[in-house]
Symmetry: C2
Subunit: 694 residues, 2 copies
């Protein structure tokens, strides 16, 4: 019951709990001072902001030296490790340690960004859509955002202080505010250090989202500029002893997304439609990948990274489903919504502006339900689960879209997004044909299962083929596994793509019209209505509750506050810290509870009381992985890597009693680097004694 | 909306729709006469009852000759075909045709029963539990049923007319009535004919539960007695032309179970707890099995039967989940329940007797939720998915239980159930070690995932092992794959089992105490409360609505009425019949849309207008597979094999607009036997010209 009462306070009286993923320019410093006696200055915030890195692959990190050294999670570099590995040299299993900077290895496709500045553009966006129909507004809004992004990027070219910036528009509070976020980009990201995966992810999927926990989930990257380590004057200093139990701590990072401001109908859509669909489909894929991994050592190696990601997603979605099936969640959400609607109805102006918004969203969700499967399978990728197909689609659509004016393109082909798109298309990522055939044939099979064998597009694709035979042909005969081929096509005349005989390109062309058609329906009949209605609700909310609220997460920079603290689980107290000694007791010798030999060898020399992982009350979600945890002095006291099982429900609400973030303790990071891996130069650099070596 | 209105009539005014799986002794003949002008006599009912077979593996069939020939679905003999097959001789892929009766092959473990008589025992059961606490009543009720079953079986020994009968107690109307059902048992069941699986299950999983459909889903078995074909004077005569569109037809069979009388809280439990759990776990297993099947031809053969069953279950559960997430279903159920509770509250006596029953069920469901995972994994088999483990558990428990007086045993070890248990334990079923390791390690993995790596029993089992290594050891070293070993242990001194070093038996012993403990909690704290409360509701329902209602399905004999009719899907009329011609057009040449060569060869000689499958409005569910469809004259006009996708929601309600049963037409059965497979003796026997050949 306590949760319900506090939960209802989410909007009316925020800040009683350690709740919220706050933007830096609206951080509740007064509340934090009142609650914890900690005063955070603007300089403190500014320094922290410039020290935090956004990893475009979906993580966070922080600079820990003036030479561009970035501390992040091990699981944030898993994709890089996998891409750099081969059957002969497995960086996932064996870890990686660049003996010197010259040995640091570049991660293909990795981009790291640092938020330099933000600029509110709400009035420009709203002015551009005033008086338009929902469908028109939805299209024009995108055009405006593309235009403002391009203008911002162009202007930054002349800014001596910052150098060229990448500009991304951000919608906060469900369209209540629009911002341009301006990033410094690092496209040359190299791997400096990663421990063995078996200790970084000790406990594997069974322990994921659990606590107590023993994961050495850290790694070190370095950003380069012009072929040299970048100068990064803003960085965090390590506090080796970490924070004490009960001490206030702050997590800065890029939470991916939350759904706390959704309407009841939108939540019901997630509960009844998208979550089940995801879980059932991907559980089957999990089984396929797992079993394939058992067919050989190389298969096992190849499968590890995609399988980890899939299992992480499944565990998270399972938690979301549990939260959505929790009667208390819907009771609270219904009560909140009823309260807001009552207040809106109580004001003639608000009622006129926003009174119908909830029903408009409900109608849009119903429309979404009707087209969901088709949209998911034809446009959102569920029907064509293949890297090679993704390449083909980007090439086919890129050829069509890049020929149009910037503002007329599909948003992901706008100028501001092209560098990321190109990095991903052109990176030297290994393609494993057997795995491609597996995922591709699986997705074609689900396409047929979901749309039915008599659906016209299914019949066209599988007229005389099975999903297996079609996938085999396409994967075997396409040339797109070669990055040079992709580059030639991307850089060349778009007509080459229109005329290409490459079978994967032919398939991407073949389904493009139907995919665009269902996307059009989605954008005009679902997204447009939802965007318009959400904007009305957002304005009503500002008008009724004021600006002292935080927006849903959007993979943009946020700050959360909290303290180091365990919780009570089924009547039992969970201590906030774990220590090294228990790790050894818990090892079974079998994956995922197996320790690397170097750790077994070092056991006697290490202090069993060394803190390992710890829990805090900070409000974070996926995307915060690798986020620095800092103390009131701004010193680095750990890095977030997960949350407990209750934190998954954090997508919908924050439960102060149970929701905990989990972090890697700085003591175990130093112990690992110094005493197990002998990475003395890195330790010196982090501890501030090697910074001038460069 | 029409569904809601009609649905509400389910209890107050049954019979407006073609709804209900009626017992033979409470069939609404007057209603049928009024609606369709068809008068069914007692003799008609009696003859039909004695012609219908119950297949203990979960199907229905019917006698189609006086020599014990049984017509049922192909998918009902899939397990038998798989058991009789080997790498060299694949009866699933190639079909089977016994050239003479001497070539008919015995199905291991198959038992067929015919319902001879029923006897109501409600008063004896109620008298035995009067005045007892819920927990006591729950235990004593089982004792009473075991005692009455044993007494019935003993008495039948002396009955010259019937010979020895198997007696099973049946609870109808959620404990509102108890019956003894008395069966004649045939334990020697032989395979006479089965077509190729690729035409029997044409369209495979994609087409399953869909219509229009082209499945030649029939087979022929024969029951033997004393080594000779049994004399079966009650049998059905075929009407080769089948029934016309709109003609009344009747389906007799053994629907497995429905949940139409459950309370709203019980449905919510299914929606929120058991259904998701089933779907997610088994979707992953589906992926594992599918992928394993791709590792070789023999693996593909082995996997087919278990995978078909799993996929069928998944598709059904997915449908159940959809139904449970349909707001209209819960609205209707809530309205019905509110109506019944209002009426109960309106009578002082009923209120005293049953007023609290719904809340008692709700409390029991909450308790169930708490123990669900533990019960499912330790006691219900989800944690130990292995035939060999099942054998071990039956041996371990059998040794303990058979030493007790009949009434004190776990119900499945009561005398009346031992023959079925022994048939399943001792049958010469092939065991495939690699598959065993797969399913067993998978289930151990899920056990750990679900209960957590720190659960005491998980730690005990997997202290120094992984799920894979443990499964491998146990499967490799157990001797239980050998039926002779199982027989020696089953027939021998129970101490041999207590002292056995067989590792699978040791495991079954190891987990038995914990499994029994959670079963005890389930029985005392969930089942006992639910049984007591349901009985109260059942009595209130009889008292308020009278006896003109049908009970939920319980894999006992039922009769449903309806007509041959299609339905309207998204504004489009679906015709009730399919024909052979379209089958050929639909074949892609790739499984599961591939036709056997003999059918491709025969194409030109066959009449493309031959009716193939058809739809009827009869109310049936799983367990009805193989059920005879008969006309008003009692002639066989087809056999049920499936329902359309809407029929899955039939577990919870019957929708007259959409819910359709699907059946195999007699014309295609005769065409196949005569013109494709040349099974002339069987045709003669079915057509009544070969009956005297024996």
């Amino acid at each position: 019951m306590r949760k319900l009462v506090l939960g209802l306070c989410l909007i009316a009286q925020p800040g009683l709990a350690d709740e919220g993923m706050w933007t830096f320019d609206n951080f509740p410093t007064a509340q934090v001072k009142q609650k914890y006696g900690v005063e955070l200055s603007d300089a403190w915030l500014k320094r922290l902001q410039r020290s935090v890195t956004r990893h475009e692959s979906g993580c966070t990190g922080s600079f820990v030296s003036p030479d561009g050294l970035v501390l992040t999670n091990h699981h944030c570099v898993m994709a890089c490790l996998a891409k750099l590995s081969s059957e002969q040299d497995d960086l996932v299993e064996n870890g990686f340690h660049a003996a010197t900077r010259a040995n640091e290895r570049r991660c293909p496709s990795e981009i790291i960004s640092v938020l330099v500045d933000t600029e509110e553009i709400t009035s420009q966006v709203n002015a551009s859509t005033a008086g338009l129909s929902k469908e028109q507004a939805n299209a024009v809004r995108k055009q405006t955002l593309s235009r403002l992004e391009a203008g911002c990027a162009e202007k930054s070219q002349e800014n001596r202080a910052t150098g060229p910036l990448a500009c991304e528009s951000v919608s906060l509070y469900q369209g209540g505010q629009y911002f341009l976020y301006k990033y410094k980009r690092y496209e040359d990201v190299r791997l400096a250090f990663a421990p063995h995966e078996s200790i970084a992810a000790f406990g594997g999927d069974p322990d994921n989202f659990n606590f107590p926990r023993w994961c050495l989930d850290f790694s070190l990257l370095r950003v380069y500029q012009d072929g040299k380590p970048a100068r990064t004057p803003h960085y965090l200093r390590l506090r080796p002893a970490g924070a004490r139990a009960g001490e206030p701590v702050f997590v800065a990072g890029h939470p991916g997304n939350t759904s706390r401001l959704l309407t009841v109908d939108q939540l019901a859509f997630q509960r009844d439609t998208s979550t089940s669909s995801y879980l059932i489909r991907n559980s089957e894929l999990r089984g396929r990948l797992t079993q394939w991994g058992k067919t050989g050592g190389e298969q096992l190696r190849i499968i590890q990274d995609p399988l980890n990601r899939l299992e992480n997603g499944l565990k998270a979605y399972r938690g979301l489903q549990r939260a959505l099936l929790d009667e208390r969640l819907f009771s609270q959400k219904k009560a909140q919504e009823a309260d807001l609607r009552r207040r809106v109805a109580g004001s003639a102006e608000l009622a006129r502006e926003a009174g119908a918004a909830w029903d408009e969203i409900a109608a849009a969700q119903e429309r979404y339900r009707q087209i969901y499967d088709r949209y998911l399978f034809l446009e959102s990728g569920a029907g064509f689960n293949s890297k090679l197909f993704d390449y083909a689609r980007v090439l086919v659509r890129g050829a069509a879209e890049r020929g149009k004016p910037n503002e007329q393109r599909l948003r992901e082909y706008s100028e501001s997004n092209l560098p990321k798109l190109a990095a991903s298309l052109l990176g030297a990522t290994p393609v494993y044909p057997d795995l491609e055939q597996l995922t591709f044939s699986f997705s074609l099979d689900k396409l047929r299962e979901t749309l039915g064998p008599d659906d016209p597009i299914v019949r066209r694709l599988l007229n005389k083929e099975s999903p297996e035979s079609l996938a085999e042909q396409l994967v075997t005969h396409t040339m797109l596994a070669d990055p040079a081929v992709r580059k030639t096509l991307w850089d060349g005349d778009p007509r080459a793509i229109a005329q290409s005989n490459d079978p994967m390109i032919a398939l991407a062309r073949e389904v493009d019209a139907e995919a665009r058609a269902v996307r059009r329906i989605y954008e005009d009949e679902v997204q447009a209505s939802v965007a318009a209605a959400q904007e009305k609700i957002a304005k009503a909310r500002f008008s009724l509750y004021g600006a002292n609220i935080y927006p849903d997460a959007a993979f943009t920079l946020r700050l959360s506050y909290g303290i180091v603290e365990g919780w009570v689980e089924k009547g039992k107290s969970i201590a906030p810290f774990t220590t090294l000694g228990r790790l050894y007791e818990r090892a079974t010798g079998r994956a995922p509870f197996r320790l690397p030999q170097v750790w077994l060898d070092a056991r006697e020399e290490l202090n069993p009381d060394t803190p390992f992982n710890y829990a805090t009350t900070n409000d974070i979600v996926g995307g915060n992985s690798g986020s620095p945890v800092v103390d009131a002095q701004g010193r680095l006291v750990g890095l977030a890597f997960d949350g407990n099982i209750h934190s998954i429900a954090g997508s919908y609400w924050y439960d102060p009693d149970k929701n905990r973030a989990t972090a890697v303790h700085p003591a175990i990071v130093l112990t690992a680097l110094r005493e197990v891996y002998g990475a003395h130069a890195l330790v010196q650099e982090i501890m501030g004694k090697g910074a001038s070596a460069q």
